[in-house]
Symmetry: C2
Subunit: 185 residues, 2 copies
């Protein structure tokens, strides 16, 4: 029997198992992917997000955002995001190339209702995220559903690297139904 990292199928399953793990385990590195976008003036940007949804069948992962955050501004110009996870325990790097749809308003109200009251305060800070303030705590957190957004990230390709005794790298594309291929690491 082979190890999971030795076959294209095994690596692919491990990617999704890891993403599911990120959903259920708040301490898992997959809980906090790095979310990279391109700014309107063409700078790369990266920040931590919290993984909120993972749909294996559809090949979609989801994160939440304040509608006034810089990543929304960037995504409106260039609706693409790269999600990056490095899991030291598995020596596994997962990279997702995604097309992003921004959902807000009534469409995401059911998700909003499911957010614990304290966590809702993350959506609706005033002044808007990234605005200068005179002192560190000169802001107010409001639980404000109108600024709550869900980013549905439709995966185009998955790039995986496993740094074991040997290094293995594979790529999976939506275009060939995730069949996968090996890449030079």
């Amino acid at each position: 029997m082979s190890n999971w990292f030795e076959t294209l199928e095994g690596l692919h399953i491990q990617v999704w198992d890891t993403l599911i793990q990120g959903l259920v385990d708040a301490g898992h590195p997959a809980r906090r992917p790095t979310f990279a976008t391109v700014s309107p003036d063409n700078w790369p940007e990266a920040r931590t997000v919290v993984l909120r949804g993972s749909d294996t069948e559809a090949g979609i992962v989801s994160v939440y955002s304040d509608l006034h955050s810089d990543k929304i501004r960037s995504l409106k110009k260039n609706p693409r995001a790269a999600l990056h996870i490095w899991d030291p325990a598995q020596a596994l790097q997962i990279r997702l190339k995604t097309e992003v749809t921004i959902a807000s308003g009534p469409a995401v109200r059911p998700l909003w209702e499911n957010i614990p009251a304290q966590s809702r305060q993350s959506y609706g800070v005033s002044p808007a995220p990234g605005r200068p303030i005179p002192d560190a705590l000169d802001y107010i957190k409001n639980a404000y559903p109108d600024t709550f957004a869900v980013l549905h990230c439709r995966i185009i390709t998955i790039d995986v690297v496993h740094l074991g005794d040997d290094h293995r790298r594979a790529s999976y594309s939506r275009s060939d139904d995730w069949a996968g291929k090996w890449l030079s690491p």
Copy 2:
């Protein structure tokens, strides 16, 4: 006496202390920043890199790369990188917006000479990184100094978020000699 995260100066010092920690401690999260670039066809990209140098005075951090990697291709078109570190133990996110200079050849030979023999194999894989291969291990690692590159990342701005009992966010710019200002988180 205030906590380090309560003053602009304290947060700024902590950023650089954390970067230094990443250099000396192989297990520290700052050892492995996420390195985001923009691909030639305008997709965001992100991958793990290893922090190799950190110059507080000059405001420059450095990483190594294979000259044939996709990040080099991207940087030749758009010489900008965002470096991202999330340190769970400190609840600290560090984001560096940088302009990147690619150094290779004789200029970086002294650095190459300092790399342990086994690690040198990371620079010179054949086929080049990211090329399809028939099977997982159908590649050869060569210690090949001609494909060794050093990416000098000149920091333009530092964005820091501390997720304590209160959330604090600050930004520091080269343009005002890193004086710093508070931002809404």
